[in-house]
Structure formats: structure tokens, C-alpha cells
């Protein structure tokens, strides 16, 4: 029975690295970051493939035997102490799915899978390779060479090879980057199925945020070798810790502003203390979590799912009559993607916001409804002139200090 994987690594040269995370059995942690962020290096370090003299830290895997928990140290090297453990990749019991699968081109699918069970006693193998073939839907392809398989099939063979070793930790290095979109969707489902039957810690490296969000229990955002933030996908995507994280996780609606504390607290709103955000002249009521100083320069993010969008009754901008925390915006562009549409909007009425654009993904039905309401007033024009009122409730605003 395998247990938790604990990773704590630091490196100075050739590439700086400072990463720390745990991964419980059955949990999937995604390391996310742009290329060159060190995510693959972390994975290689866990597998024992990273050969660099300056690597320090500790990698351990917990074991449970008859209820007693012990710990296997895979790597342990600190700058001061003399003892130094560094198990070879062969001794680490990892399953690694390489980015381009690295299948052995001269071996059939089943031999590719069986080769990693080569050191396991026959009694423990228990036809594991054959079972994996069946479980991953590779029946009938056992004797095909990798070059005769499609990308998705190769990916499944690679996954089966990684699992055939009965690994203590499963590592996935951009496993979906080389397959087309339909097979990717199928593979996501297969990975989800797999997770219900395999209880090892799993670490996935990806640059694809959608993938991380869809698959991972927790994400670790890496940039230039340093952990910027870790948490559940919801936490990281809705409350990025700073502007760089917001940028990395691809949040489009992030803006600059200044934060001011208010004396009195408004009643009846969930966060008991509210502050005010000066968004280049537009004042918004926002939550105050007592983490920011009065007058601080901030980056803030708009969580689009909390916004209320209503058709504005009149065409002309008249801020006076608008309810608090409501902004009048004009549609500039609507890009239909079928069920949903990507809409670009420009705020009206504030000269400071002339260059600001909001990007909202609305359901196409909602866009159509807004237009229909509008049409009673003005039939001829199309959506580029559609003006709407957007209510921005305080909980939809997430404020971060500017990155220093």
C-alpha cells in the first residue's frame, strides 16, 4: 500500500528551483506553468532522472504495511549535512508517461508493457500486463508495433507501461499534448476512470490550464522554477495570489486600480467589512479582507460568473440613474463559438476606462435574449451597438497586491 508523496526541492544552477508540495494517494496534483518554468525538471527529479549537482531537498514516499506507516526516502540532500540519499530511477518505483511516450519502437505493445514488469516476481505480476491491455481498451493491438498505433493508442500503451510496474507514484509529463482534440477528451475520461481504481499519488505536468482545471485536485503554479501558488483549481483560478498568477492562469479580466478602506461597514453583505476600489475614476464597492493598506495600488480580477447583465433601457449613458456597482458597457464584438460566445465589451462613461476591455463568455442564448430586448427599442442595428448594464457584486471582485 503506497502513501503520500512529499516533494521539497531547491536548486541554484543551471536553473533555479524552489518547489514544495505533497500528493496524497489517489490525488492528482498538476504542476502548471509556461515552458521553462521548471515543471518538467521537478518531474524528472522525482523520477531520479535529473542529474544536477546543486539539487537539494527531500523526496519521500510513505508506505503503509499492516497499519504501520514508514517512509521511503528517494532523495535527500541538504546543503549542510553529509548524508546524502539519491536512489536510481530503477529503485524508485515510479511510473512515468513521457511527453512523446518514448515507447520502445522495436517492441510490440504488449512487450512494451510487460518489460516494466520484468523485475516483479511472477506471482505479483498476476497477468498485470494483460489486464492493463484490457482495462485501457487495447485488445487486439497487443502485437502491433508503436509505429502502427495512433497517437491516442500510443498514449494508452505508455500509460499501461507506467502502471505495469505497480508504481508507488505515477508521473505524467504533458501526456495529452501530442494527441488530437477528440482523443484527448476520451483520454481525459480514461484518466478519470483510472483514478477510481488506482490509488497512487499522481503528478501531472501541463501548460494547459483547461486540462489542469479539469483533471487535478490541486494545482501548483510554477514560474521560473518558483512555486507562486498552490491550491484547488477553484482557489487558484478565482483567487490568484498576485498579478503574475492571474496572467499565468490566463485570466483575461484583470485590471489595475487603487484600494481604499471605508470607515463604516455596510450591513447585510456577506463580507462584513467593505472597501472601495478606484478603478481609474469608476468607484466600486469591494470586499476588504484587511490584507491591504489604505491607498494601495492593486491588480484586481473580475469573476465573470457572479456578474449580472441586463439590457439597459436607454441608449445614452446616464450614470446617475444606475444602481451602485453597476457599469454601463457597450458590445464591441461577439464571436460565436456555438453554444457560447466570446464577447468584448467597452465600459462607457469613464474617460479613464477608454482603453479598458472586458472579455465575457456568455451563452449564445443570453446574447440573443439581450439583443431581443433591445430590438423593441431599435430594430435596425446589430449587436455591436448593444449597451448593457453590468452589475458587479463585491464578491465578484478579487483584489491582489501588485507584484513587486
Amino acid at each position: 500500500m503506497t502513501g503520500k508523496l512529499s516533494v521539497q526541492l531547491s536548486n541554484t544552477a543551471p536553473m533555479p528551483l524552489s518547489v514544495q508540495f505533497d500528493c496524497a494517494p489517489g490525488e492528482l496534483v498538476a504542476l502548471v506553468g509556461p515552458s521553462g518554468s521548471g515543471k518538467t525538471s521537478v518531474l524528472r527529479a522525482i523520477a531520479g532522472l535529473l542529474k544536477t549537482p546543486n539539487l537539494h531537498g527531500r523526496i519521500t514516499v510513505a508506505n503503509t504495511v499492516d497499519g504501520a506507516v514508514s517512509e521511503t526516502v528517494w532523495f535527500d540532500k541538504s546543503a549542510d549535512s553529509k548524508h546524502h540519499t539519491n536512489l536510481s530511477p530503477q529503485d524508485r518505483r515510479v511510473g512515468l508517461v513521457f511527453q512523446n511516450y518514448a515507447l520502445f519502437p522495436h517492441l510490440s505493445a504488449i512487450k512494451n508493457i510487460a518489460i516494466s514488469a520484468i523485475n516483479t516476481p511472477a506471482s505479483d505480476i498476476n497477468n498485470l500486463p494483460e489486464k492493463l491491455v484490457q482495462r485501457l481498451g487495447l485488445d487486439g493491438l497487443e502485437h502491433s508495433l508503436p509505429s502502427e498505433l495512433s497517437g491516442g493508442q500510443q498514449q494508452r500503451v505508455a500509460l499501461a507501461r507506467a502502471l505495469a510496474r505497480n508504481p508507488a507514484v505515477l508521473l505524467l509529463d504533458e501526456p495529452f499534448s501530442a494527441v488530437d482534440a477528440p482523443s484527448r477528451t476520451r483520454l481525459y475520461r480514461e484518466l478519470a476512470n483510472l483514478r477510481s481504481s488506482v490509488s497512487t499519488p499522481m503528478v501531472l505536468v501541463t501548460h494547459d490550464l483547461y486540462e489542469a482545471r479539469r483533471l487535478a485536485d490541486r494545482v501548483v503554479i510554477l514560474d521560473a522554477g518558483v512555486t507562486l501558488q498552490s491550491g484547488t483549481p477553484e482557489q487558484v483560478f478565482s483567487r490568484p495570489r498576485n498579478a503574475r498568477v492571474a496572467e499565468l492562469v490566463g485570466i483575461q479580466n484583470h485590471f489595475k486600480g487603487r484600494f481604499y478602506k471605508t470607515k463604516g461597514a455596510a450591513e447585510g453583505v456577506v463580507p462584513s467589512v467593505l472597501g472601495q476600489l478606484d478603478w481609474q475614476g469608476c468607484l466600486l464597492t469591494v470586499p476588504d479582507k484587511n490584507k491591504l493598506d489604505d491607498g494601495a495600488h492593486v491588480t484586481w480580477v473580475l469573476a465573470a460568473e457572479h456578474l449580472d447583465i441586463t439590457s439597459s433601457g436607454t441608449n445614452a449613458a446616464c450614470e446617475q440613474s444606475l444602481p451602485p456597482n453597476t457599469l454601463q458597457c457597450q458590445f464591441l464584438e461577439v464571436l460565436s463559438l456555438g453554444e457560447s460566445s466570446i464577447c468584448t465589451l467597452a465600459p462607457l462613461g469613464f474617460t479613464g476606462l477608454a482603453d479598458v476591455r472586458l472579455t465575457l463568455i456568455l451563452s449564445s442564448a443570453q446574447v440573443r435574449n439581450l439583443m431581443r430586448e433591445k430590438k423593441s427599442a431599435e430594430t435596425a442595428s446589430n449587436h455591436p451597438h448593444l449597451v448593457v448594464n453590468i452589475h458587479i457584486p463585491p464578491q465578484s471582485v478579487h483584489i491582489m497586491p501588485m507584484r513587486i
Binding site: 530511477p89 530503477q90 512523446n100 519502437p105 520484468i118 501530442a178
Partner: protein, 225 residues
């Protein structure tokens, strides 16, 4: 056809290839993966016989292993090994001269194996030795075949070194290429012709084998993604 010469040539070609194969594989595998600083110099040394006139090699071998040299006298006295004007000497010279023909194709074959296949094998629990046998060698075999074929063909055709080190002793060190020379000297064109044609055929066959192996190997190259 000078049958004793043909027998000497074939035996020499076979033994040279057989002796050189393990040496070549070990050296080529190491050269293909090492990042040692002295690698260019060693590669130059291995390739040197390709460029040097055979007479130069023959001359230095005679100097090094002749009865008047310290090394030659020592080998003769203690091991009863005579490396000049003997079949053993011929074989030794042949191994040396054929080093580039064996090492280069094998080195290229090992170098073309993507490193992540080795890593995948390690992560699958295969030791370095097992990775070599199960993964690297099967993938490099067209290179091994090329090395053997080129070495054998080149040994049959070698003239200068063989003449200088071997001395054309009939039945012992006289090879086909020397026999052809003798026939031509004796104005026996038809005698030379038979043997020359045999050598052409053999070399052609060996080269065809090399290219066929290369083509077959290309079908098993790592899959594109």
C-alpha cells in the same frame, strides 16, 4: 584462382570482423554517449587508419613489432608471439586498420537512439546493462551489421598493410589482393580476372547488405509524434 590465398583472405576477414565486433560495440557505445573532453582526439585516432597511407601503418607496425624492436622481441620471447610476417601479425594489423569501418557505423547507430528511450527503460526498472541488451542493441543492429559487412569487405581488399606486415607468405599471409598483384606481374590476366571479379562481387554484396539493413532499420525508427 589461388585457393590458399582465398582461404587466407576469408579466414582473415572472418576473424577480423569477429574480434573487432565486441571491441567496436563497446568503443562505439561509449563514444556515442560520453561527454568526455578527450572524445574528439580519440575519435580522430580511431578514424586515422582511414586517411593514412597503408604503407605508413605497415611501416610503423614493422617498427613496433619487428624482431629488432623491444616490444617485438619481448612478445616473441615471452609469449612466442610473432606479429610480423605471420598470420597473427596480419590479423592484428587488420583489426587496427579496420577500426574506423567497424566503429563509425555502430557509433552512429547508438547516437541516433533518442535518450528518452534509455530513460524510459530505467524508469521501467531496467538496469543499465539490461537496457543495453533489450533496448539499445536491438535498435542499433543495422549499424552492427554495417560495421561487420564493411570490415569484412575492406579486409578482403586490403593490400598495402597486408603486403608490408605479412610479407606474402603463401598459405599463411598471402591474400587474394596480393595474389591478384602476383598474377598481373606474371602477365596472367585471366588468373587475375577471376579473383578480381570475386572481390568485386563480394564487396558489392556487402554494401548491398549494409544499405538493405539501413532501410529495414528505418522502418523501426522511433515513431513520429
Amino acid at each position: 584462382m589461388d585457393w590458399p590465398a582465398a582461404r587466407t583472405s576469408l579466414l582473415l576477414a572472418f576473424l577480423t570482423a569477429a574480434l573487432l565486433l565486441p571491441i567496436g560495440v563497446a568503443l562505439a557505445r561509449w563514444l556515442a554517449t560520453t561527454s568526455w573532453r578527450g572524445k574528439p582526439l580519440l575519435e580522430a585516432l580511431v578514424t586515422l587508419p582511414l586517411l593514412l597511407p597503408p604503407t605508413v601503418i605497415g611501416f610503423y607496425l614493422l617498427t613496433a613489432f619487428g624482431q629488432n624492436s623491444v616490444l617485438g622481441a619481448w612478445l616473441a620471447q615471452h609469449l612466442n608471439l610473432h606479429l610480423v610476417f605471420s598470420f597473427e601479425g596480419l590479423l592484428f594489423a587488420s583489426v587496427l586498420v579496420n577500426l574506423p569501418f567497424m566503429v563509425q557505423p555502430i557509433q552512429r547507430a547508438f547516437a541516433s537512439i533518442p535518450h528518452n528511450l534509455r530513460e524510459a527503460a530505467w524508469v521501467s526498472g531496467l538496469s543499465t546493462w539490461r537496457t543495453f541488451w533489450k533496448i539499445e542493441l536491438p535498435l542499433a543492429w543495422p549499424g552492427l551489421l554495417a560495421g561487420v559487412a564493411l570490415t569484412a569487405a575492406h579486409t578482403l581488399g586490403e593490400f598495402g598493410v597486408v603486403l608490408m606486415v605479412g610479407g606474402a607468405i603463401s598459405g599463411e599471409t598471402k591474400t587474394l589482393s596480393i595474389a591478384i598483384y602476383d598474377r598481373v606481374q606474371a602477365f596472367d590476366a585471366s588468373g587475375a580476372h577471376v579473383m578480381a571479379l570475386a572481390l568485386v562481387c563480394f564487396s558489392l554484396l556487402a554494401l548491398a547488405l549494409v544499405f538493405a539493413a539501413d532501410r529495414f532499420g528505418a522502418n523501426k525508427k522511433p515513431v513520429k509524434t
